[in-house]
Amino acid sequence: MKRFRKVLIANRGEIAVRVLRALRELEIASAVIYSEADRDALPVLMADQAFPIGPAPAAESYLRMEAIVDLAVSIGADAIHPGYGFLSERAEFSALCRERGVVFVGPSPEAIGGMGSKVAARRRMIAAGVPVVPGSDGPLDDFDAARACAERIGFPVMLKASAGGGGKGMRVVRAAAELAEAYRLARAEAGASFGDDAVFLERFVERPRHVEIQVLGDLHGKVVSLGERECSLQRRHQKVVEESPSTVVGPELRRRMGEAAVAAASAVGYSNAGTCEFLLDAEGRFYFLEMNTRIQVEHPVTEMVTGLDLVVAQLRVAQGEPLGPEFEGVEPRGHAIEVRLYAEDPFRKFAPSPGRILWLRLPQGPGVRCDAGVYGGSEISIYYDPMIAKLIVWGRDRVEALRRLGRALEELRVEGIRTNVPLFEALLADADFRAGRFDIHWLDRKLGAGELAPVERAGLPDLPILAAAIAHYERAQSVAAVGGGAAGSRSRWRTAARRGGLRSGSWS
């Protein structure tokens, strides 16, 4: 077993900070790369070493595989931690690291490749006995094949264009009598839309939940499951809130899903941290979707309920350490919820709100963890994901966790940019959310129907006027004191007024 002396972090933002913390605890020296936009970012301040890697666009910096591995070699780093996103799931990067004698803190290129192609992965999962959404496994030859397949898997089913994607050419069929007409229409639609009328068929999962299993494998063939995360709250396929345990998963289902996830990972010889995503239907049936071959954004909820440090574990297994007894038979304790704080304006269609954070106070106190990639004064740039921080709360049960979430959000202060906090406030006020009644389409439905209105606070309606009046008064006093003559001060005011007028975007 080789102990790392130095590790290069090939990432930015909060996950770079997260890995830095793990390295510090293991007393391993740390180095980060930074793009021109990230010179003053928190990871650069916290790392032992920091090296420029190129201009702001990711393609010219964080995605430069050769340059990053060259840097690792030149500074004597034993390993590279890729974080999530960027190069974390690129088999060729994992391969390049191996070739150059640098440990890639993640799975082998073969394991990444084995999960990379959806079609191949599905076949492998079926062979490994991992449940997948039942279907025709390829284009249907004709209507007879469609009927035979539908009868085998049971209604409702869904017809999908083989060449399709993004919901186009999809058609739900709820009864055998509707199948012939639907088949005809689906083929015609597929032909018209994609120039290829091949369609396939699979079971239609109604109102599914997204439940994923955290797995961890060492380099000695052992893979363990560390329980589930519920990630059904998604906006346009982006996770918004994650929690553990899931309100709909009990010990028995957890055990079965964990076994399936371990089988899935083992089927590709998986090592390091990874996540098997499943669809879970209302009857408790689950279907493998895909495997994320990296540490996930939402890994802290698993850490909070298990007491394990997953990034430390990643580094340890990458060093060749076998998984210890603390990873066996892990059961969740209490309840953890993560919300992703973004610089975006939920009142303006979630438009990003880049800019400088001028005032920042992160929540603290019992049961609250805030993994931030920023500090007061740092800039949310337009080049990357506008994440400010992840706010993770723990409670003895979900009710306590929700109370803490509300408390922590009230405590948070971010000025200078807008954030999506109002979305979480609206969620906390929603009865379905509080009861855990949702599926992967729930949030989009709610937002589409305008049913998640901003929470009106019982505040002081005159507050903005009071604050502006005092600011205005103070400014007038100080201008009068400093400005000397009234004429001079007036002309300055006029210039300012012109500038102000141009920049104001409100009805005035």
């Binding site: 303006r348 269609k349 001028l358 000025e415 507050l463 009071l466 600011a471 400014r475 007028g501 920049r503």
Partner: protein, 167 residues
């Protein structure tokens, strides 16, 4: 100091007096005792009759202030009563109707959906802005006539730059 405050459709008479570190502020018929302490260059702690508020106040122009309380901004215009009267005389309707639609973030203009002189309905697309790899359509907040278009497709804009003027 006597002022007129205009904020979110409201128009109020305001008076401000300082009395030994405290302010007496009158908004319409309501009187407040306010203690205001600056915590940084623009954050103030306001104690209003005992209630505590931490607000960020950004100056947006000579008489325009953005007041943010717990991340939710409100724009307040503080104007001289005479200036307000003059504007009101020129026609309340006209004043209300003018609007400069500005870019609320830096980015690139991908498309312009209107031309000067167009009549638009509320919700009509005006400009498509690309920032942070996402495209955002900027829409008219109400029915109006397009008086000026400041930008063209492909143009880079800063946050706050004017895009379109409506009336």
């Amino acid at each position: 100091m006597e002022l007129i405050a205009r904020a979110a459709g409201r128009i109020e008479r305001v008076s401000v007096e300082r009395e030994g570190g405290r302010y007496r502020v009158r908004v319409g018929e309501r009187a407040y005792e306010v203690e205001a302490h600056a915590l940084g260059s623009f954050v103030r702690s306001l104690l209003v009759d005992g209630a505590s508020y931490e607000v960020a106040v950004f100056r947006q122009g000579a008489s325009s202030w953005s007041v943010s309380h717990r991340g939710r901004p409100t724009v307040v215009e503080m104007v001289d009563p005479l200036a307000h009267l003059a504007e009101a005389t020129r026609g309340e309707g006209a004043r209300k109707g003018r609007q400069v639609v500005a870019a609320y973030m830096p980015g690139r203009v991908i498309g312009v959906s209107v031309a000067e002189g167009d009549t638009v309905e509320a919700g009509a697309p005006l400009v498509v802005l690309e920032a942070m790899k996402m495209q955002n359509e900027i829409q008219a907040e109400r029915a109006a006539v397009v008086r000026r278009v400041h930008v063209a497709p492909g143009q880079a804009v800063e946050g706050g730059d004017p895009l379109v003027e409506l009336e």
